[in-house]
């Protein structure tokens, strides 16, 4: 496949692997967090751990948009579909996320909720146009990558006067989550987790640029390498991080120059600013309340804000007591450290957020890496 196979070339990968083996110093241990679920997925799917020396370890971060969506938010979406009779439009991988009362969007659909899978917010607008007598709600989730399309949908709805369309906004912000992890006691004070650097997001960074990470590099003295989602991108980024650590540097470097600039996509950023403002705090599944980490719809678009339109009140819902997702997302634990992993919590019956999407740390390990630690 053109423009893809080039980034999955096994021979090139072996070359980079040799360089990592040669340059990673035997007396050091390197722990790097890939923030994004896309990277987690690539690492698992292509078997990247097999290409790394034992003392270079990857920690899977919280950047899987489906995984960090808290139960209470899915409960709201289910409530809208089941109790308020709206047509709820959702991205595919959100369908299976476990919510309260043993429900998920998929199960709510089986119980009669009109829940439809879409590929883009544009599909939701079309459904609203085609069903003028029904309320149509877009369940808008994701990081900075999926936010601009939601903004475009809001503006489209305003322009067309689509009065039966609204958005349940659950968009979250990457930099706030990274700061939250770096500020966690395990990392900052207790020294339980050594985090020697970050692989920065691919798609998110095409929107926000590389500039927002400069703060982490300086403030927390951690190297950041922004990388594409292809496996060679990831390998190259790991090599660049090893080199920074060895040299005692902590800079933002950009491996993904074919798509990411320092300033990012200004037009998309402007759209987001026009439609959204910061929430004071927002609950993340696995991380808890994270200040200024999410977006809400601005007053100008209030009539398209499902939270206002349906007078929704957010009710947090706790995860299973034994679920270790929070610790896994902060790098304190690995999936196999969790007593639920592979027993009552599997991709077929996920209990915690990390088992939900194939981008989650637990699901990726279960699906692709289970042979490394068979029970």
């Amino acid at each position: 496949m053109k423009f893809v196979d080039e980034f999955r070339d096994g021979a090139l990968a072996q070359g980079i692997a040799r360089a990592i083996h040669a340059e990673a110093q035997p007396h050091r241990r390197y722990a790097f967090m890939e923030f994004c679920g896309g990277h987690t997925h690539a690492i698992a799917r292509y078997g990247i751990p097999d290409l790394l020396p034992a003392h270079v370890r990857m920690i899977h971060g919280p950047g899987c948009p489906v995984c960090v969506l808290p139960i209470g938010r899915i409960d709201l979406a289910i409530y809208l579909a089941v109790k308020r009779g709206v047509i709820l439009c959702t991205y595919g991988d959100t369908l299976r996320v476990p919510a309260s009362d043993g429900l998920s969007l998929l199960r709510a659909k089986a119980q009669g909720g009109d829940i439809r899978m879409i590929y883009s917010p544009e599909d939701a607008l079309r459904i609203a146009r085609d069903n003028p007598k029904r309320e149509v709600v877009l369940f808008a989730i994701g990081f900075e990558t999926t936010t601009p399309p939601t903004a475009v949908a809001l503006m489209g709805a305003e322009r067309e006067g689509l009065d039966n369309f609204s958005v349940l906004c659950c968009h979250v912000l990457t930099p706030a989550a990274i700061a939250h992890i770096l500020d966690s006691p395990e990392v900052r004070d207790l020294g339980l987790v050594s985090l020697d650097g970050f692989i920065g997001p691919a798609h998110v960074s095409t929107i926000i640029g590389s500039q927002p990470y400069e703060f982490f590099a300086e403030e927390y003295r951690k190297p950041v390498v922004i990388a594409g989602f292809e496996p060679l991108d990831v390998m190259q980024a790991i090599l660049m991080l090893v080199r920074q650590v060895n040299a005692g540097r902590f800079a933002v470097e950009n491996e993904f120059t074919r798509a990411v600039s320092r300033a990012g996509n200004r037009r998309a950023q402007a759209l987001v600013v026009e439609c959204f403002e910061l929430r004071k705090h927002f609950e993340w599944r696995g991380l808890g309340e994270v200040p200024y980490s999410a977006l809400k719809i601005r007053e100008r678009f209030a009539r398209f804000d499902a939270e206002a339109r349906f007078d929704l009140a957010y009710q947090p819902a706790p995860d299973h007591k034994a679920c270790a997702c929070g610790a896994i997302l902060r790098g304190v634990k690995q999936p196999i450290d969790c007593t639920l992993f592979g027993t009552i919590c599997t991709p077929d019956t996920p209990m915690g957020s990390c088992m939900v999407s194939s981008e989650g740390a637990c699901a990726a390990h279960y699906t692709y890496g289970r042979h490394r630690s068979p029970a």
Partner: protein
């Protein structure tokens, strides 16, 4: 007044109504003018509650499959051809010669007769191509909204010669794992239609009857352990089934698995793994390692096996894991899919 005259069915503009399932004259007419017209053969013409079939030497193999699909017509096939191919293939991969099919139709009130005729014609052509006869059938009509156009259940009966003994439990460490061609064609053809995804070159379903190919393998006399057609759940599900049944492991070579660039691209776009995507005309063969080359040659000599490849081998593994050496150089598990393949958002 003409005593024996019935106005023919309007096959151009007519629709199924509740009368067509009522057991009265309307149902008889539908059977006569549509089903029997296209599917007719000596056995079906017996016209009794059951069809009397001549007993064949050997053992009988029987399999059944229900077919529901949206859209009913897709590039490379339709529900009619699929209903024939699916069941023919389930019988054929047992090493048997499929001979007869039954066909049960659940029709939704309001379904256009023109579409039904197209589907039945397609079944007739598929049965003819596969050398099988549809020897008994049934039609039920349900109210509008209670079905999705048409559902078809087919049951197949075939004859298995003595000495042919294939089973999912027969794979042994060291055996070779082969596939007859590219993976994921059917599932992505359906998905691209369903979601209205436009690709430069349309992806065409691989829906096909495999009994010619399986017959050639049986005739070649190579040391076969088992054959399977990887339909729903794709290659990954079928290989995991084999690993469980045979209580063995498996190692695949990703680079050896044939896949069309368009299918790979569509999967990439939707965040799907082609190993999980359905096929309707592909064959997995497990054979003794010494027979691998001969089996591959037999497969490649057949039009449906031109792109055949050895994709891996059976291993001894108490965990029954299916593992894959990735093109990239690492190793990973190939697991069952949880539920349906769902696109990833990022």
């Amino acid at each position: 007044m003409k005593t024996d005259y019935t106005r023919p069915l309007d096959l151009k503009h007519g629709h199924i109504d509740m009368n067509h399932g009522g057991g009265g004259r309307a149902m008889q007419q539908l059977i006569r003018e549509l089903f029997a017209k296209h599917l007719g053969n000596d056995l079906l013409a017996q016209g009794n509650d059951g069809t009397v079939l001549p007993v064949q030497p050997g053992r009988l193999v029987m399999s059944t499959d229900s077919h529901v699909i949206t859209p009913l017509f897709f590039p490379g096939g339709d529900i009619g051809a699929l209903a024939v191919h699916g069941t023919v293939n389930d019988v054929a991969v047992m090493g048997a010669t499929p001979l007869w099919l039954s066909a049960g139709f659940i029709l939704e009130e309001g379904f256009p007769l023109a579409d039904l005729e197209r589907i039945v014609q397609s079944m007739a052509a598929a049965a003819h191509g596969a050398g099988v006869q549809i020897v008994t059938g049934d039609t039920q009509v349900v109210e509008r909204g209670k079905a999705d156009g048409v559902f078809i259940t087919t049951t197949g009966v075939g004859v298995l010669l003595d000495g042919v003994n294939l089973s999912g439990a027969h794979a042994r460490p060291g055996d070779a794992v082969l596939i007859s061609g590219t993976i994921g064609d059917h599932g992505m053809a359906i998905m691209s239609q369903r979601e209205n995804l436009q690709f430069a070159a349309p992806i065409v379903s691989d829906s096909a009857a495999l009994n010619g190919l399986t017959a050639a393998l049986i005739a070649s006399g190579t040391e076969l352990r088992l054959m399977r057609d990887p339909t729903r759940g794709g290659l990954a599900a079928t290989l995991n089934e084999i690993a469980q049944q045979s209580r063995c492991g498996m190692t695949l070579m990703e680079a050896a698995i044939p896949i069309q660039p368009a299918v790979e691209g569509a999967c990439e776009l939707l965040g799907l793994d082609p190993l999980n995507i359905a096929n309707e005309g592909k064959l997995i063969v497990v054979c003794a390692a010494a027979s691998a080359e001969a089996t591959l040659q037999t497969l490649r000599a057949h039009p449906l096996g031109r792109n055949a490849a050895q994709i891996g081998s059976i291993t001894d593994d108490p965990h029954h894991f299916v593992q894959m050496q990735t093109r990239f150089g690492g190793r990973r598990m190939v697991d069952w899919l949880s539920g349906e393949p769902l696109p990833r958002i990022c």
